[in-house]
């Protein structure tokens, strides 16, 4: 079930806060109703201690691409719901960029347990880059399970943020320039990193249900 | 007959730490600095700068580079701060970084220039602070730094860390990866050298 449809099921208390401190998050766009409703959602999200600026950002993007008002409001609600889930999924990470990465992954229907696995692979470091690469692979139509496996394995094997970012960018370039399927490019690039990473130890080898190498996947060294 | 005795008042007054050192560094300053608070980082630098300078001047083949070395160490520390996990005492981490910087600089300096061991050359490099109004005192200071500069670097460093900066052998082992027995040997060698060299100065 798409999370955007879950939006209504999650209770978000809507309070209208005073304008003062929220001026920097003021949304003005579309018609008056849209502005008011989106601003209320932003205020409610901020009141929960979540990075409401992300919703403002998405709303402004929506305006820039001429999105109809009601759709902007629906999007804001969906994001608000995803942010709540994102925060739980990547606990204890609380940086805005980490939450943004998790929310974006959720918007592409990445399962929560993949986010949890990435979060626990690097509990004390920023994870925006692996989350971003995960999201981009999924956006490129790599199956979420395989994308999650690749990113989690990279983290467990000690890959640096640079290596992970490079993999994501290289897969994009491979797809764009070479006409590869993203999943094939992703596997290729993952295998290519193999010699440069620690092997996946017995402890690190995942025994979680549902995660098995796909037929075309690489063998773990 | 020695001109100085350990209980001489003037000497002990010189041991008063720099005012900034006694303004207790807020334990929270480190946490705040981790989050990118420049003000907190400034407090940290203020608290440790003098000690770092002291260490660098004693460590470096070219003591004039000490300010640059201290700066480099703090820059590296600041960059790595977000990942500092307090598994290690902050001071020992700082001096570990500083020690690495000094050792690297010394390697470069020694590769680039023949080491000048003449008395005159070493005297020129001694920082002005040690020249006080008390001539006898400054002569002693010169002798000490003179002698220390001739102690091999690996012995000198451990001697400084233990006796001057007050790190335990436990900590130094963790900082350097060198076994405690080896560390104690290095300190002993440095002490023996200093005693032999300096006892000539004090008949």
């Amino acid at each position: 079930m798409r999370l955007s449809r879950c939006a209504g099921l999650i209770a978000i208390s809507i309070t209208v806060r005073s304008v003062g401190a929220q001026d920097s998050l003021r949304f003005v766009g579309g018609d008056a109703t849209t502005s008011r409703e989106v601003s209320q959602i932003i205020d409610a999200v901020a009141a929960q201690g979540l990075p409401a600026g992300l919703i403002l950002s998405k709303a402004r993007f929506a305006v820039a691409v001429h999105t109809p008002g009601p759709k902007i409001v629906e999007t804001a609600k969906a994001m608000a719901a995803r942010l709540v889930i994102a925060k739980r999924a990547i606990d204890p990470h609380i940086r805005e960029s980490d939450l943004a990465g998790a929310e974006a992954a959720l918007s592409y229907d990445v399962p929560v347990d993949i986010l949890r696995r990435i979060s626990s692979a690097r509990p004390k470091e920023p994870i925006a880059v692996p989350l971003g690469v995960l999201t981009q692979l999924v956006a490129d139509r790599v199956p979420a399970k395989r994308a999650g496996e690749i990113v989690t394995d990279l983290l467990r094997r000690g890959a640096t943020m640079t290596q992970i970012a490079d993999l994501g960018n290289n897969v994009d370039a491979d797809v764009k320039i070479g006409g590869y399927r993203a999943v094939d490019a992703a596997n290729m690039r993952y295998n290519g990193l193999g010699p440069h990473l620690a092997p996946l130890s017995a402890a690190g080898t995942t025994t979680e249900p549902g995660i098995t190498s796909t037929a075309g996947g690489p063998k773990k060294p | 007959m020695t001109a100085l005795s350990p209980s001489r008042p003037a000497l002990s007054s010189l041991l008063l730490p720099h005012p900034a050192q006694t303004a207790g560094l807020d334990a929270k300053a480190i946490s705040r600095a981790k989050l990118g608070d420049i003000g907190a980082f400034t407090e940290i630098v203020q608290a440790y700068y003098a000690r770092c300078l002291r260490f660098a001047r004693a460590m470096l083949v070219e003591p004039d580079d000490a300010e640059d070395m201290v700066q480099e160490a703090f820059v590296r520390l600041y960059r790595a701060l977000p990942r500092y996990e307090e598994r290690q005492r902050f001071e020992s981490w700082l001096f570990q970084i500083l020690g690495n910087c000094c050792r690297t600089a010394n390697t470069v300096a020694q590769r680039n220039a023949a080491r000048l061991v003449t008395d005159d050359a070493l005297l020129e490099r001694i920082p002005a602070e040690t020249r006080s109004d008390d001539d006898a005192l400054s002569a002693w200071g010169d002798s000490v730094r003179h002698a220390l500069a001739e102690v091999p670097e690996h012995n000198r460093e451990i001697f400084l860390l233990h006796y001057v900066e007050g790190f335990s052998y436990d900590e130094i082992e963790r900082m350097t990866g060198v076994r405690q027995s080896a560390l104690k040997m290095r300190v002993k060698r440095a002490s023996d050298f200093l005693r032999a060299r300096l006892s000539r100065e004090t008949p």
Partner: protein, 201 residues
């Protein structure tokens, strides 16, 4: 901060006196602390992403950040450093200027941004900005500068690591994707944006 521990007691008296001498703290120059903080703050904007916390003893990097490069670098970073340092001068507009909103930076205190350059070919445009999630899609934040031959527009801005969506706003009216970048469709809006994964400094 407690005073340093004292291990002198076990030492020979002459060595003890030598230690006393060596423990004298040097005088610190007035601007020394400020210079260090300034150098560190500037370096923070351009970090090597994966420097190990405990440098190996054998590592030979003796890179120093000293001297005149500081002020220029601080200007580029747009940092305002508290304390005795005055604010750095306004950045000079060149082919690759930098701009940063203090608000955006303060919202991201724990993630260290990486300077990213955006380049766009638009010979006939009058104004070009890059807009994206890193500046809340605000066209006024990151105006681009034209190259000398008038063909290319560029700007360099610090962006926190992660996946980012962006586009170019041409003449305040036309949103154009980056032909050199991959693009993705926003799942909520259906609209496309250019994608950049920031993570390599």
């Amino acid at each position: 901060m407690r005073s340093p521990r004292d291990f002198r007691d076990g030492a020979d008296p002459i060595v003890r006196r030598a230690i006393d001498e060596l423990r004298r703290l040097p005088r610190v120059e007035d601007d020394a602390v400020a210079a260090v903080v300034s150098a560190a703050a500037t370096a923070r904007v351009l970090p090597p992403a994966d420097e190990p916390i405990t440098p190996a003893r054998e590592r030979g990097r003796g890179r120093l950040l000293i001297g005149g490069g500081l002020v220029a670098a601080a200007a580029i970073a747009g940092f305002l450093i508290r304390g005795s340092m005055s604010s750095p001068p306004e950045p000079v507009r060149t082919a690759a200027t930098t701009s940063i909103t203090p608000a955006a930076l303060s919202a991201e205190r724990t993630a260290v941004p990486i300077v990213e350059q955006f380049v766009f070919k638009a010979p006939t445009a009058r104004h070009v900005s890059v807009i994206g999630d890193f500046n809340r899609w605000d066209a006024s934040v990151a105006p681009m500068s034209r190259s000398a031959d008038g063909e290319l527009w560029s700007v360099s801005i610090p962006i926190v690591p992660g996946r980012h969506m962006y586009a170019f706003m041409v003449d305040d009216s036309l949103l154009v994707l980056d032909p050199r970048a991959p693009k993705s469709r926003d799942p909520d809006l259906g609209a496309e944006g250019s994608v950049r994964i920031v993570g390599r400094p």
